[in-house]
Symmetry: D2
Subunit: 354 residues, 4 copies
């Protein structure tokens, strides 16, 4: 089959950093294995970071993984199943939860998939979905309404799931009359806004430096727009009687956004960390004197993904995408790296309708 | 009546920083006022900080409060009540929640007393309990079993309440098989240990630099003791299969304890901030890649205090105290400041049995 | 002032059962009293039950209350306040929570207003709002945006609050992909539907015998309509893969609806009781073998009412009303009793714009 | 191997209703199968009900199951594992969760094992553990500390788990100062008492007709004992200021206990149904006017069982048992049926130390 593989880690992400080539097809080995014919695979900034080598100490510590297929936002149709698979059949439309979980550890048994003690991560720690076929397992495939098209939803598998998970966790805090600030209306943020709108009656205040992003945020359901112009913390405080918002979701997590977010959080409120890169730097006296929380968020659970698919099928969450043939994987990477990619990039194998 | 008042802010906390003198008795002015005859008033490190002037920018910003009576951990008997008071009668034994709340704002109505929009703090922002009499209000007095002696429990009003509140919030996380690290087995920590023991079946690991404190922690219910000797983070990790504990309660909050605590917290776990002084300094990637939380804790609710009094009446929580006559308030302050005070210092007005 | 009073209990609810007459104005007696100039007072089926004497054993056990003013769904403007009232001022637009609570018992302090140990119920156990003026207390008045008109929202004070409270409690159970059955799309049910729509992304299935009510339910946000025609339990089971719905809200509670509702509830699901009159009659083996719950619901909290007012101000919840002058209170009662009243009946004192 | 099988359903449970005979050993067929060498298998009243034919319409509707091996409370050592089993190894000491779950449906993925859409129930719907060997699956085996002896704990697999599950669900309601009534201090109730003691600081009031059971309840941690003598509802109301208890756990569920339990439940409180046989018969007006709940409870989750094993290993929960050799299965059944069995009956295969 065809697949786009990384052959070396290189900080500059030069043209040719991802090579589309002929490789052996994956085979069922474990009774719970599932092979998915890819209908669409999302391109993510993490793929850039992988090529740059940022993840190598974590996902390839002994430097034995190259060359391998990247792509961790995958959707398609079931091609083949292992002997113990009972939840999907050949031909089913599926989206893939990013983590292959064991179903046996305490975390899996508590519905806390991302904390599986035995998980594997296709596209990160083993071959992923920039290919005709992907091997994952029974616990990772969410069966979908066949009217959903893999290419339209693939990017919800990771980016969308992460935003939905954070919004879902915040539901108990966001009763009518509360406010939720969304810092950053990009790829994750815009799913966050739509998820918050679908799940709560809170007022949504969106902060972003881009007028275009703010205008789109309005369409997705934002109630108030704040230009990130240096005075945005004050603007948010003015909108919230000087107190800040009950929940502030940080989809940026670096370059000072994490400080701004803390300063926009109301006493007894919660600062949700989703984006990353910077450091949180808060005096413990500020934490205790206001009883504010800093909440971590890591991708999402399988059940979260299934719920997000319900909202998607109902048209409550939509994605803005640009498609590329799988053959153009390297071009798509370059476009993303150079800021030329509009919406979420989706790679589509040959023979699948774009 | 007699009262111990602060007359000036002075960083050195010199002898004479608190003056016991004759002052006018408080009078009922608001229909919900309650005057309490003090049976015991706890001495707290915060009293030292007040004298040093650390709190002046917050509690006395326009510098008009001096001289005033300190003392924010108060217990005694109801002496007089306003016309609208229905929950206590003259003669009732009471402990005073530290905050006089309004009962009308959203926070009060949600049982979230410390976030009252209209609260006043006797002993911090107005006259407190180092005196024969204290004025507070109906919403701040918890009626007690008359067998409880004010001098034995006064320090639970603030220090004890703070520790109990944090333990109580952590209950849902601490099912059988989990572990809770208590960093610091001092004045608050030892109430935390007893509260955790009463409320949960989790294993309690106590970390402290003092062998004496660790020995006492064992008596209070600690399951494992770890000497804070520089290798304590590793020791805790070894005790927890390398993963850390589901909950880590930081009763120190400064001098690196806040970093150690974070490093002892398990993925998907929570770091509770109770002590303060330092800064939390965590890369956002660590927060999201492990989905850990940092949880603020501010004193406790009225209902928390009522619950703590139940545990106290049942003998499940006890305090170690040293008593001083109110006349010796300054001596007690000096002893606390010089590390000579064993257990929690309690001031007792003349005429009350010590 | 003018007021509509009940002079006798009579099962037949004859004309003249409520007499509009001149009575003394209420006066501030307690420092927390608030007198409200009524802008609109909702007429409720409970008022019929009071006249019939159904409530006499509960609200007037020693038969000393007559004659008294009924009306427990009240909204208007603050006319006068007691000396300890700090949350409203003369002239403020307010809606009245039905219970005057103490703010001092455990339930009040936990935000659980309806379980106040010392509550009083204007219009039920003492003079109510079918009058020019009503006496209530500071804890019962919710300050409103002055653009809200009392006559438009008065009926939300009790009927609307009850429906909202049940919907609010069910939020954690109603994630995307779940279904909520609403049994009965009448006065409470239609607020329930709108509240569920505002608070959750669940599918709402409405069951009612009236085609007209079902058509209105569609406008309020129902996703599926089921005619209550004897086969409705099967119809709902077919819509839910034979399993039933995660939550079923019974706004009827009698004449077999309570049995139907139980039979429409999914294993691990919850049957919310809101309407009343019948008996629940379930084998305990059915409860345990399916782990279903039966959940009681009693009016709502003050904070619930404040949240409902937010949804109302945003246009997410609206009421269908018919207005009567206060002078026509008896006629309104007869119309309600005879099934001639469309929407919710609202009594408006002379001098208030209808 | 040897096994005790039921050959016919007979209401009278005559001697010989269970036959110990030589049968074929189970074999690994599915990659997730696990074969356990039985160390002890608990005898339960449900086994009597199976022989009587009470369960036939549910577990053997088409009457094709006989003869089959009963026994659904099983513990032992892993004898053999399928190719996909990763969580246990041959030789591990294990206790068996009663349900073989799929790990793939929403319920399994939410940690809600008993609501698995594809579960199988050894000892009920297929061959169970009154035998030398039992076939179950990887998701059903909890690995234990090897110091635990299967014969000492086997009965915790179902009876103990059911009691623990109910106690665990009630933890958020049972803060200090609350009361929990345990109706029935028998096989399940005594685990309930010990679990409540380990998990909460609530006062435990035990109601039972047997003085001997009450005396044992005291040893297990009961705070108050009430003889079930016809006046017990009043006695409990007197102990609770006339209000009832926040939680009442009904381990009886028939013969009027279900009515007594409802009448002992405080407004805003919850009646937990665990025992069964009778009918709950409550006016809906009582449910709504007091906002009480009736809560179903069905066995427990795998994680519940793992937690219960922690408490058992710590000595916080213990079982009173009487052992029989597997060969005496029929005698044990007769003893249980005739009220001659003290504590929980445990069958032990030949060659296992009793």
């Amino acid at each position: 089959m065809k697949a786009a593989r990384v052959h070396k880690y290189d900080e500059s992400v030069p043209a040719g950093s991802v090579v589309v080539e002929e490789v052996a097809e994956p085979r069922i080995e474990d009774p719970l294995d599932v092979i998915v014919k890819i209908g669409g695979a999302g391109l993510c900034r993490t793929d850039i970071h992988i090529v740059e080598g940022q993840w190598q100490p974590i996902q390839d510590a002994d430097n034995t993984l190259l060359p391998y297929i990247i792509g961790h936002e995958n959707s398609g149709w079931v091609e083949e199943v292992g002997s113990a698979v009972t939840n999907v059949e050949v031909g089913d439309t599926v989206i893939c939860h990013p983590l292959m979980t064991c179903g046996l550890c305490r975390a899996c048994r508590a519905g806390n998939d991302m904390h599986c003690e035995n998980g594997a991560f296709p596209g990160i720690s083993q071959d992923g979905g920039f290919a005709d076929l992907l091997k994952t397992n029974a616990r990772a495939v969410v069966k979908l309404d066949p009217i959903l098209q893999p290419k339209d939803i693939a990017a919800l598998a990771d980016a969308g799931l992460t935003a939905y998970h954070a919004a879902r966790k915040a539901v108990p805090l966001l009763y009518p009359g509360t406010k939720c600030v969304v810092m950053g209306a990009g790829g994750l943020g815009h799913i966050g806004i739509q998820s918050l709108k679908a799940l709560t009656a809170a007022k949504i205040i969106v902060v972003d430096p881009s007028d275009k992003a703010l205008a789109l945020a309005k369409d997705w359901g934002a109630d108030e727009l704040v230009k990130n112009d240096g005075n945005h913390v004050n603007t948010v405080l003015e909108m919230t009687n000087g107190a800040g918002a009950e929940v502030v979701m940080d989809f940026v997590g670096e370059k000072g956004a994490q400080d701004d977010v803390w300063n926009m959080t109301k006493p007894d409120g919660s600062h949700y960390v989703i984006g990353y890169g910077g450091k949180t730097n808060v005096p413990t006296i500020d934490i205790i004197s206001t009883e504010r929380n800093i909440i971590g968020n890591l991708v999402g659970t399988y059940n979260d993904l299934a719920e997000l698919m319900v909202l998607t099928a109902e048209g409550k969450v939509t994605l803005h995408t640009s498609t590329y043939p799988l053959d153009a994987a390297d071009e798509a990477m370059q476009d993303l790296n150079n800021g030329k990619l509009q919406g979420r990039g989706i790679l589509i194998p040959e023979g699948v309708a774009a």
